[in-house]
């Protein structure tokens, strides 16, 4: 038992990762041990480095390895636009699309009375500061089309109204989506946001 306790501990930790359970963690660990030189050692080294260097950007809340992330330090991205997202995964999704060339602001969640999340728990005061200091002309509210997401969007809009142009993402039929499979809420949102062709 003691001879395998380190491995058991690794399996236990891996099982806590999203999408993995004890069985899949065991398979992953076994695979890594078999590919020790190719996988386990480089992975351990990468994890050690990331554990030491990963931090939140002090300006926008993005995850990086420096105090201020690459996007915030890039002069090319200082175009007067800030895209407000709920968390870092949303920022990465926006970056993958490559359509947005400005800077981001990661709120770190949404307002929720149920979970006692108020404006002070999110990075809303910091967003207000950035509007002034970075000479922002447009705030794009790219928050989830959920009740909590849109409640947060309206709250931010109330805070910044009159100081900056405020826009939000459109809602409607996704690319590749079939009307037959859409819920009635999405169809009515798409109908309201119809455009000339």
């Amino acid at each position: 038992m003691s001879s395998t306790s380190d491995i058991d501990k690794l399996i236990e930790l891996m099982a806590k990762l999203p999408g993995l359970g004890p069985r899949s963690a065991r398979r992953a660990v076994l695979h890594m041990i078999r590919k020790r030189a190719l996988l386990l050692a480089p992975l351990a080294e990468s994890m050690r480095i990331v554990a030491e260097t990963a931090r939140e950007c002090l300006n926008c809340g993005n995850v990086g390895t420096t105090d201020v992330c690459d996007i915030c330090t890039s002069e090319k991205r200082a175009n007067g636009e800030i895209c407000v997202v709920e968390d870092v995964a949303d920022l990465w999704a926006m970056e993958r699309s490559g359509v947005f060339k400005g800077r981001y602001h990661v709120l770190g969640g949404t307002l929720s009375a149920l979970d006692s999340v108020g404006p002070e728990d999110l990075r809303i005061p910091r967003l207000r500061d950035r509007v002034e200091t970075e000479h922002i002309t447009e705030i794009i509210l790219a928050l989830n089309a959920t009740v909590d997401g849109q409640t947060t969007a309206h709250y931010i809009a109330d805070q910044l109204e009159g100081r900056v142009r405020l826009t939000s993402l459109a809602q409607g039929v996704p690319i590749g989506g079939e009307l037959d499979y859409l819920d009635d809420g999405t169809i009515s949102a798409a109908m309201r946001a119809r455009k000339n062709i």
């Binding site: 009375a113 009740v147 409640t151 309206h154 819920d183 949102a189």
Partner: protein, 241 residues
């Protein structure tokens, strides 16, 4: 144990990696929680938005267990709610107040009916605040804190009822209030279903119902505060005055 019912989704929160615990206001079983397996999936998560009208099948081994739900969407109200600031704030106020006030597993069929009707009006901003005021009066009534506006508590008069007693929750006439008039809560005609129900009167009436929510209902439930969502709705509504 199992049953099938219709209900209004009040809250949904993640449970584990893939499931959700939902709190639903049902027609025959009152406010009732349960687990939805796969409730965070791409297919089901959009259904589990506050205010959604659901067909629910609940099952548990014992009655007092949390149990699991199978959900089918009947009507999504998210689109109507997300269409405007007032609708969204209104939806949040209704679901927050129902979560806050209702005891678990106790049927409130009349209130359920009224809540369903109110939520079906979401997006109709011209009539929604009045409908909300009537719903709030019904909520107080249903939970035992009803406001009696039939006659003056002091004189028995049925004319010139312009105040509500903050202690008894009964109407008071101008003559009956006498020197205590400044301690009374206002009773605008809209609260008695009279007049054209202008927004100004509705706002005043919401102040009066707010008093009973804050000083009668909340302490009785062991809470210090009424949900913040109600205040946000009043704030959004007041801005259009």
């Amino acid at each position: 144990m199992d049953w099938r019912d219709h209900g209004i989704l009040l809250t949904s929160r993640q449970h584990g990696e893939t499931s959700a615990i939902i709190d639903v206001f049902t027609r025959r079983h009152g406010r009732h929680s349960g687990v939805v397996r796969g409730g965070t999936s791409r297919k089901i998560a959009p259904i589990l938005q506050p205010g959604a009208q659901l067909d629910l099948a609940w099952r548990a081994r014992l009655e007092d267990h949390l149990g699991t739900y199978q959900v089918e969407p009947l009507r999504s109200r998210a689109a109507a709610a997300l269409s405007g600031r007032l609708a969204l704030a209104g939806l949040n106020a209704v679901t927050a107040l129902l979560s806050f006030c209702l005891p678990e597993r106790e049927a409130h069929s009349d209130l359920y009916q009224r809540s369903e009707q109110l939520l079906d009006l979401l997006g109709q901003d011209d009539i929604w605040p009045l409908a909300y005021l009537r719903w709030e009066l019904a909520l107080l009534q249903d939970l035992g804190f009803g406001i009696d506006l039939s006659a003056c508590a002091a004189t028995g008069a049925t004319e010139e009822l312009v105040y509500v007693s903050p202690r008894s929750g009964r109407a008071v006439s101008r003559a009956g209030a006498g020197e205590w008039a400044d301690r009374m809560l206002p009773l605008p005609p809209v609260m008695r279903g009279e007049g054209l129900a202008p927004d100004e009167e509705i706002a005043i009436a919401l102040g009066t119902t707010g008093h009973f929510l804050k000083h009668r209902l909340a302490p009785a439930l062991g809470h210090a505060q009424v949900p913040e969502a109600r205040g946000r709705f009043i704030d959004v509504f007041s801005r259009r005055l």
